[in-house]
């Protein structure tokens, strides 16, 4: 894979709409056959990035290659890319069959063959028997399948999906997630999948790009992003975390705002302002004085300010001078329960914290 040509290669791409910088100097490489998710809060530029790959929007500057070919201002019909739109954008005046065969007919495939191939694709997405219906006679999930079939029938080299499951209810959504994932594996096509549902992104994708305010913050596997976030934003955005502001003292120690020192190996120079990300489920809570000796250098003392029972776990809010820590203890490990007001200590394994400087 190392020297294989990338499916999509974005270099220094910026997109400006008048004063708004929708996408800000983004570099991104998507491999052939990869399930790639783009994740970020509303308005961060996900759709705009996708539209630039599709050719529905042209970059203000930068270079965009699809399988090595520079496509900067190539119109959408000349790109080996198809899109599943968020609102599906099915043609209301055409039947399901005509919708699905549209791309083939437009590219000059003869009508019989186009219909036959569209028919096969309709079967593949399990819509047999609905070929003669109009889109408004289909449920949301069925429309979603038509949109998928209509794009895939053209055998795109890259399939772009803009929040394709956004309009579906939870059950159907989960069903479609599995189905999309297996479809992608079978076809071996790169999927670029936009979502603002992090769980969806984490479970489905090979790699995930996190964006905020037009900037690409981090690209990596689900584990990279969760365990090794590159910035406060990513740490906070992916899953839940506690961010504790601190300053690097030396390569093994950080100093908290109250002067307390904690052991935390850091690659950053002394004096760097950092935040320590501690996932709620990696923290343990116990009575004061019960901190195991090995965790002495990675512990804090506080007071339980709230305790909630969640069935599979207990969630404590522990207030420590100037911060509140969230702690999540699996039920099986919490023989001892703490009521609000209890004076406790919290500690963690020194491998489970993570420092972010940005």
């Amino acid at each position: 894979m190392a020297d294989a040509v990338a499916a999509v290669e974005i270099r220094g791409v910026t997109k400006r709409f008048d004063e708004v910088v929708a996408v800000d100097d983004v570099d991104l490489t998507i491999a052939d056959g990869e399930f790639f998710a783009m994740l970020g809060p509303s308005g961060c530029g996900k759709t705009t990035t996708l539209r630039m790959i599709a050719g529905l929007e042209f970059p203000t500057q930068g270079s965009l290659r699809i399988f090595g070919e520079e496509v900067g201002t190539l119109p959408p019909n000349k790109r080996p890319v198809n899109t599943v739109f968020q609102n599906y954008a099915l043609f209301p005046h055409m039947t399901v069959l005509d919708n699905v065969s549209f791309g083939l007919r437009m590219s000059g495939v003869n009508k019989t063959e186009a219909r036959q191939r569209a028919g096969e694709m309709i079967e593949l997405v399990q819509l047999d028997g609905m070929a003669a219906r109009k889109p408004n006679q289909l449920s949301g999930g069925q429309q979603q399948r038509v949109a998928l079939a209509r794009a895939l029938v053209n055998k795109p080299k890259v399939l772009l999906l803009d929040e394709p499951l956004g309009a579906l209810d939870l059950k159907l959504r989960q069903e479609m997630q599995t189905e999309l994932k297996s479809l992608q594996r079978e076809l071996g096509v790169s999927f670029v999948f936009v979502t603002h549902d992090q769980e969806e992104a984490l479970t489905m994708s090979d790699r995930i790009a996190v964006m905020d305010q037009g900037k690409l913050l981090q690209v990596g596997s689900a584990e990279d992003l969760y365990a090794r976030p590159a910035s406060r934003f990513v740490a906070d955005f992916i899953g839940q975390t506690n961010l504790i502001e601190a300053t690097v003292a030396d390569n093994n120690t950080i100093v908290l705002q109250n002067g307390q020192r904690l052991r935390a190996p850091s690659p950053h120079a002394a004096g760097t302002a950092v935040a320590m990300s501690l996932r709620p489920e990696t923290i343990q809570v116990g009575a004061r004085g019960s901190v195991p000796a090995v965790h002495e250098a990675t512990s804090l003392e506080g007071v339980i300010s709230s305790a909630s029972y969640l069935g599979h776990s207990m969630v404590y809010e522990v207030s420590i001078d100037w911060i509140d820590l969230e702690v999540r203890t699996p039920m099986v490990l919490s023989e001892e329960r703490f009521a609000p007001g209890s004076e406790v200590a919290v500690w963690w394994d020194r491998r489970s914290d993570w420092l972010v400087a940005e």
């Binding site: 019909n77 099915l90 043609f91 005046h93 590219s107 694709m121 999930g141 069925q142």
Partner: protein, 308 residues
Amino acid sequence: MSHGAIVRPPMEPPTDPEPAEATPEFEAANKRLDRRRGLLLALPSWAFLTLFFAVPLLIVVVYSFATRNRFGGTDLSGWNIEGYRELGQEFVRNLVLRSLWLAIITTVICLVVAYPFAYFLATRSPAVRNLMLVFVMIPFWSNFLVRNYAWRVLLGNDGPVSQATEAAGLGETTILFTQSAVVLGLVYGFLPFMILPLYAAIERMDWSLVEASRDLGATGWQTFRQVSFPLSLPGVIAGSILVFVPSFGAYVTPQILGGGKDPMLGTYIVAQFLEARNWPEGAAASTVLMAVMLGATLVYFRTGGRTL
């Protein structure tokens, strides 16, 4: 990569949610209530329509079967279809065909001119749109008759148009009092009726469909043929009817710009009432004209009303 040979894990076929059954009695009661409420609200407009539309229409139809007496009056007795039979005379038939032809040409020209304009309009920013819509409306601020006379001046022997073409070395323009002048006047007069429904249809079109079409490999022209145009069809039909109908029965423009040389249907009807004093004949022609218009409107509701 063959899509056919793929083995997929079985999955439950998607199911349509069953709509909940409504209790029949409640359903019926609700419908009755809706209808009653609707009737009450519609009462003023029904009264208005009956008084000013249905009654006059009925009078015209009744007169078309009446008898013309020797003094140019009309006797409401001796019912006959003489009025309709006279429409079969060759010269009437020619005049109907001529009117039809001019109305069709007018409609087609309006469509060809208005479509790109409406498309352009619908793709502008709201501020530009509103400004341009005002320009489209400006002609309505003055009287139709006055505007027709204005064209007569413009197209006249020594009028500005003629002077301009002469200056450009194209010779005199002598289209006044020809059918071309009539068509020009009709196009000018009815163009806004084409632009507005087209604009409305194109403007409310879902533009993501155009993008989807381009994304699926269609060229700009293919997209227009397969997507934009079919979706704007209700506007095309509405505009065509709004232009065709008044063009077919036009009176003022043929009279002023055509000089009344080749009588058209509208001119003919007026002449029957005012000059020939053959009211049954005029009424019969009017009835036929209205029947054609009604037919056209039905076509609209059958095709345009249902496509979206």
